[in-house]
């Protein structure tokens, strides 16, 4: 791009090109524009729903941390209800199981080291 006065380096410098640019895949049409946006939107929506279902504890914890207000009391009530529902449906189990494994890894000690303090 030139405007007669300025020689613009309108491409990113080669040494620090963006890590989100992938080489084109020959013979395969990759979603661009509206199709790409639709694919992205669907991916983000499904990931969000997956987390809403399996990680209700995070949502409830977030609600509990907010500044108390009438609205937040209602929100916290709703997230607590949702958490209880996901626990009844057993969809919260994978997260609890993984967290348990992580806690055990944190508590592991080498021989001769003092045991981990209880949470």
């Amino acid at each position: 791009m030139t405007d007669g006065k300025t020689d613009v380096r309108n491409t990113m410098r080669a040494h620090d090109a963006s890590p989100v640019d992938l080489p084109d895949e020959p013979g395969r049409a990759m979603g661009e524009g509206r199709r790409g946006l639709g694919w992205t939107g669907a991916t983000i929506l499904i990931a969000s729903l997956f987390l809403l279902l399996t990680n209700a504890q995070a949502l409830n914890g977030w609600a509990a941390e907010q500044t108390p207000s009438e609205t937040m009391v209602r929100v916290t009530g709703a997230t607590e209800g949702w958490l209880a529902a996901t626990e009844r449906m057993q969809v919260a189990t994978p997260r609890a199981w993984l967290h348990g494994l992580w806690k055990r890894a944190q508590a592991a000690r080498f021989a001769g080291q003092a045991p981990a303090a209880e949470d």
């Binding site: 613009v8 989100v20 979603g31 992205t40 990931a47």
Partner: protein
């Protein structure tokens, strides 16, 4: 509003829906993202949104004056005034207290103790990043590397929330051309973005937070109470922590910007596989090191023009100022000085190495470079110079006590180092496969990966190290 929090997640979801759904007009899209960026910045302190806008208006106005003038003297004067004003903003918020403290110490030492007007200046988050962006923009317009941008574009460049508080330092040449047309998403860009975000979350929430809170911070807080092996491991641990912390922010910033259709340059490239300090700076915080190289080392100091000693002086000045950029502390200055000194020594060695002397094998160069970097990190992390020297003395002495690092912490340190042995561009290789997946499969995989990170993360979120800079 920190990236790895649900508050930010909800903010992102709302912004994503509004920006992509509300309007197909590129100008309106930028305005919506600008408002979202100010809300994001205002979550720290609303007062500094005004500073951000003022800084953008200042740089826009100065660039317009430079661009409109055909008089070389006027153009240069306006550029200098603009750079000085940017430096004044940075200097006041970041260095005012430090400067007065030093003046007070000097006066006291000379027997002229005075009550100086100490004012508690709150440091606006990200001020070092957006003032550097402003300065490089003015220099680029002056040197006719970029045309003067519209007020909307320059405000967007300086305010866009993914890079606003901790970089990368995105230059006008990188972003402004992208602002001229409505961005389009493609699958490869989005697959890379999602991988960068999840990988960044893992590095920050699992590796950096666990190492910082459970091992590195306690060791640096009680140097005398820890054994030599703990001090050595905590120095390695900090090297892994700061890499996983800062590169995680950059990865997430690049990924989030990509989900809005914008490409940010790479900011980290497996820095601990560098075989020299010069190579390290081509891999670590690339947006800052290239900024210092282009605007300070080359434009202001003359770069490699002149003899080898002139080059060494320029390297030293650049790295000392690079150290000072991180904050008003002597330890940052020493950290920068150490890097400058070793860079100068590397330069002298290349210049005067006796013919026939063997060249260091690459693996040995990597090992030596890594330990020079770790030595620098001790000064960078220590609260004071006295603490840093006590730390080094502690490594030299054989202090009492055993090792307190746990098996998990050792695994995390080793994993953080092993990342650097992975094939270059591995993430892009994976993204190349992921982009062919149907949305439901990628959605579930992304959700499962975030769930895994959340199950492993340390309770609470520590701020990113580079927020303070």
């Amino acid at each position: 509003m920190l990236f790895p929090t649900l508050t930010f997640g909800l903010f992102f979801l709302v912004t994503f829906c509004v920006v992509w759904g509300a309007s197909r007009s590129n100008e309106w899209r930028k305005i919506l993202l600008l408002v979202a960026s100010w809300i994001f910045y205002g979550a720290w302190d609303w007062r500094f949104v005004a500073l951000l806008i003022l800084s953008a208006v200042l740089n826009w106005g100065a660039a317009r004056l430079i661009d409109d003038s055909d008089d070389a003297v006027v153009r240069k004067r306006v550029m200098i005034v603009g750079v000085v004003l940017n430096l004044a903003i940075l200097g006041f918020f970041k260095y005012y207290g430090f400067f007065l403290e030093q003046v007070g110490d000097v006066l006291a030492a000379a027997g002229f103790a005075r009550d100086l007007p100490l004012v508690q200046v709150i440091l606006p988050v990200g001020v070092s990043f957006f003032t550097f962006q402003g300065m490089s923009y003015l220099v680029d317009v002056y040197k006719q590397r970029v045309p003067a941008a519209s007020l909307l574009d320059i405000t967007f460049l300086m305010s866009f929330f993914p890079h606003l508080v901790a970089g990368p330092i995105v230059r006008a040449a990188d972003l402004v051309p992208q602002l001229q047309a409505t961005p389009r998403l493609n699958r490869g860009m989005v697959a890379s973005a999602l991988l960068l975000i999840v990988w960044g979350l893992f590095k920050k929430a699992v590796i950096a937070s666990e190492l910082a809170t459970q091992f590195v911070d306690p060791v640096f807080a009680d140097i005398a109470g820890h054994s030599r092996i703990d001090l050595v491991l905590a120095a390695y641990g900090y090297a892994v922590q700061i890499y996983c912390d800062f590169s995680a922010y950059s990865d997430m910033a690049i990924g989030i910007a990509a989900l809005f259709g914008y490409r940010f340059p790479r900011n980290f490239d497996q820095p601990y596989r560098a075989a020299s300090l010069q190579e390290f700076w081509r891999r670590w915080h690339i947006s800052l090191s290239s900024w210092l190289r282009d605007y300070l080392y080359i434009d202001a100091l003359g770069g490699n023009r002149g003899g080898v000693w002139y080059i060494c002086r320029n390297l030293m000045v650049t790295m000392l100022l690079g150290g000072l950029w991180h904050g008003a502390k002597w330890t940052f200055l020493i950290w920068g000085g150490l890097h400058g000194l070793v860079l100068a020594m590397e330069r002298l060695w290349r210049e005067y190495r006796p013919a026939g002397w063997p060249v260091l094998p690459r693996w040995a160069g990597v090992l030596v470079t890594f330990h020079v970097v770790v030595l620098g990190w001790i000064f960078f992390r220590a609260p004071s110079f006295a603490d840093a020297t006590a730390y080094l003395r502690g490594i030299g002495a054989n202090g009492a006590g055993g090792m307190t690092a746990t098996p998990l912490q050792l695994v995390l340190i080793l994993f953080g180092l092993a990342i650097h042995a992975a094939p270059p561009r591995l993430l892009q290789g994976i993204a190349g496969r992921v982009r062919t997946w149907p949305a439901p499969i990628l959605g579930v995989a992304t959700g499962a990966a975030i769930l895994l990170v959340d199950a492993m993360r340390f309770e609470g979120v520590a701020p990113f190290i580079y927020y303070q800079f």
